[in-house]
Amino acid sequence: MRSLQNWGTLLLPLSSLFSLASCLDLPKDFVPPQVFKNSNLLRTIDITKPYVRETVAMVIDNISKEPQAEYYVPIPKGIIENISYLEARGEDGPHVANTAVFDSESETQYYKVLLSAPLPAGKSTKLWITLAQTDCLIPVPTLIGQTDKQFLQWTGSQYAASAYVTEKQKTKIKFPNSEVPNYTILESGDPTGAGSWYTYGPYKTVSPDQKGGKAITLRFEYTSPVIKMTKMERHIEVSHWGGNIAFEERYWMTNLGAKLKDTFSRVQWASTSYYNPPTSAIKQLTFSLTPGAQDAYFTDEIGNVSTSRFRSNIREAHLELKPRYPVFGGWNYSFVVGWNHDLKNFLRVSQDGERYVLKVPFLEGPRDSVTYDEIEIIVVLPEGATLPILTESALSDVKYSPPIPLFSEEEYLHHTFMDTLGRTSIKMKAVNVVDEQHKKELIVTYRYPTMALYRKPFVIFTGVLTLFTFSWLVSKIDLRIGK
């Protein structure tokens, strides 16, 4: 375990959110003090992806007599489990956001946003809150034909959730396209808008007691599959001898979209796919890898899947996969992809030649929008890269800074070819991750003494030399009878 203080300096301030260690225990019937007022609020709900991204831009006023730094964001109990992340940003950079956990019976949970500078009494400032909510889009109807359009439904609230009085607010909704057959009409002229943007509001003063106001339900066409990786394992292996870094990713994929009404017709699929119509099935995934990727492969339980294409040049590297069958709603597919890279673009070495810094993308999923239930990132360092010192000091030899909050982490020894001790490895787990976290960087610092580098040839050298010595000794045994 590394100290949390170290983290603070290493991580983006936002990444300490949700980390269980920073949860606050507040009383069950906690109500945030009414020290703020939202004088203007604009909520934008983006439902173009398989998860819902909500951005709340607001002007907050401090109406108390003291400077205030703690702004609370209420989240209803049923939703908080689905929040992938919540970030807060002010005019001059990010603020720290923490979950404040209550007694689990409480109906409303709060996130606490710690403003980077306390807001003086009577002053106002701008605040942006962004959050992503997964597993909240349901297909309606749940069963469709193979070539039918797929519709998803989302239910939310009329007003933006706020623990404070909001004087003026408006909600804008961004749909994937202009096909919105059903939406809640609150009164004539509300909502307004056409095309792929709808607007609810503006509304006059709303107090926190009104909760979200009325429920709004929207049903809209969704032309892409609802891709969910129920599990993903990413294996990153560093080789100093080979000058190589190997990536391997295992996916357990499912489609949460509408299920098939009838049995799947291969004939119909083949005849319509010629026109390449939008479909609710996952028929292709594209991975945009870091340029320079080599030796890509795509396999599943059966073996190599030949329906893949890998195009790599100095500017880009694309791995296009076609699963063995189109993955319709409720269907699953699991597969493995992997590729190699030259190590020199990812690893740097200190002047003394013993300290190394590895900088790799934390996640590199498909370009298509996806959400992940559970991810496991394993970084395998070379054998003999020194283990962290167990005391919580800054002298710890292996350090890593994940870009997103982790659910759990552990260090262990991974055993593979030509290993005597086992390779120092880091296993990081995170849950409920969305594809916005792709391409964020993971930095690992470790110490790898030159002596440790020569362990592998030395072990073989010793073994072979022992054989030579033994054979020499055997050859010197005099087995002649008499003289």
Binding site: W241, Q351, V357, M418, P457, F461, F468, T469
Partner: protein, 73 residues
């Protein structure tokens, strides 16, 4: 940490990927050749002179050979 990254120099392996096979071949062949010489000449003076270089060549050679075939250790 990014500042630290900028100060450091990129990692350069001792032998690049394209050189693995040739280096492995040279080292392994040298190793086997010296092993052959060792097997026909086991006098106290020449044995260590053949066995130690042979072991070294086979030790490094096998590490590069496994890298050359794509198992990066």
């Amino acid at each position: 940490m990014d500042a630290e990254w900028d100060l450091m120099k990129p990692f350069v392996p001792m032998v690049g990927k394209e050189g693995h096979l040739s280096v492995a071949a040279v080292l392994m062949l040298t190793g086997f050749f010296l092993t052959g010489l060792f097997s026909i000449n086991k006098s106290v003076t020449t044995a260590p002179l053949l066995a130690i270089p042979a072991s070294l060549a086979l030790g490094f050679g096998s590490v590069y050979l496994i890298c050359a075939v794509g198992v990066y250790v």
